[in-house]
Symmetry: C2
Subunit: 222 residues, 2 copies
């Protein structure tokens, strides 16, 4: 590490905030307030504030709270996109993250956020379309081997809802019986007392569950 002569690149974080909207895995976008592509919908993101953010993760949590109105949600680093061409302002580094939020938690900020299907978000500035595609790939790839998809559900949910979320995220049908078997073998859930029926069209009451661990990875697939 010699030469400190090189100009420092711009450093931002960008967040692919995913939620389930009308049964479709969707990404939350925000109109850009400033400068390049002002007013155009783009990923939630911003500069790292070197005075207040100790880490990039903290910058992400701050930005999610300030600009997205959400906190205490699942966040994971995705990949870093760094090149001379991705931003008209010059050499830039985007430390990209993805985050999952149950739709309910977005209610307060629904007026400012724009939800688009994550599969086909339409045209986006910079390389944001690529970042979203990468996030989807990660979520789908890791989904079957982790409790990540469950982070799109509220804290308490039914077994069917859990199965449905996995089906939606993975984009494939799952067998109910096998799903139950695997979930209980893996010992991921704990029952919530005071069981009651949830979905309007269920006749028989359903057991409600909650995740035991905030997040777990396994090597069997669900």
């Amino acid at each position: 590490m010699q030469d400190v002569a090189y100009p420092r690149p711009i450093v931002t974080v960008d967040i692919v905030l995913l939620t389930l909207h009308e049964g479709v895995l969707s990404v939350a976008l925000l109109p850009r307030p400033t400068d390049p592509c002002s007013g155009v919908s783009a990923l939630i993101g911003g500069y790292v504030h070197t005075d207040e953010d100790h880490t990039a993760d903290e910058a992400v949590r701050r930005i999610l709270k300030e600009k997205g109105g959400v906190e205490h949600i699942f966040v994971e680093q995705l990949q870093t996109f760094a090149s001379a061409e991705r931003d008209p302002r010059g050499w830039s580094v985007s430390i990209a993250y993805f985050a999952l939020v149950p739709e309910g938690k977005l209610e307060s900020s629904r007026s400012t956020l724009e939800l688009r299907p994550a599969d086909s978000p339409g045209a986006l500035p910079f390389d944001h379309a690529t970042i979203i595609a990468t996030a989807l790939e990660r979520v789908r790839g890791k989904g079957a081997y982790s409790t990540i998809p469950a982070r799109l559900l509220p804290d308490v949910f039914t077994m069917s809802e859990l199965k449905d979320i996995y089906q939606t995220v993975m984009g494939q049908r799952l067998d109910q019986s096998a799903f139950r078997r695997k979930v209980s073998d893996l010992d991921l859930l704990e029952k919530v007392e005071g069981e009651k029926r949830q979905t309007a069209d269920a006749r028989r009451p359903t057991t409600l569950y909650r995740l035991k661990e905030p997040m777990s990875v396994f090597d069997r697939r669900l």
Copy 2:
């Protein structure tokens, strides 16, 4: 993205260059030429040269060639480490990569590089120990589901050597029969004509193979 007032962080890339040395998965280190921790062994890395490197990947390839004397090897982005504390120079971003190289390709630069067991690299400056641990985790986690470990072998190798590499990387014994079956099911290899025996102590001559694709990922484990 408002406020451009915030000072820009330092941006570097750091590379966990792994190879097999005396049967042990090892990491290649380089004495730091300058400033903080000058002379101390650390990961191969450097500043992004915003004038000549178009992307972070290019910076990595340049640095591997300049400082490690290797090129045309497997490289993959690992994770980005970014915080106010990881470097005494201030808020810094390290875009970390890992790379795999067959030991033979290191010969020319063996005099400058220091090889240490990747599992226990000893004390290292900054957060480099954490970066190495993260790289190992990735290589081991992804190893069983990809041809990544094969990148530690020369282009041409025997089935036994391939199995041995997987065993070493994964740190567990594999069944010869099952390994052969899976590798041939997955259709990863092509035979190399002019087969000959390689390892000194083999009686019967062995078929030599080469990877069909530069890199592939599957969802069965080897």
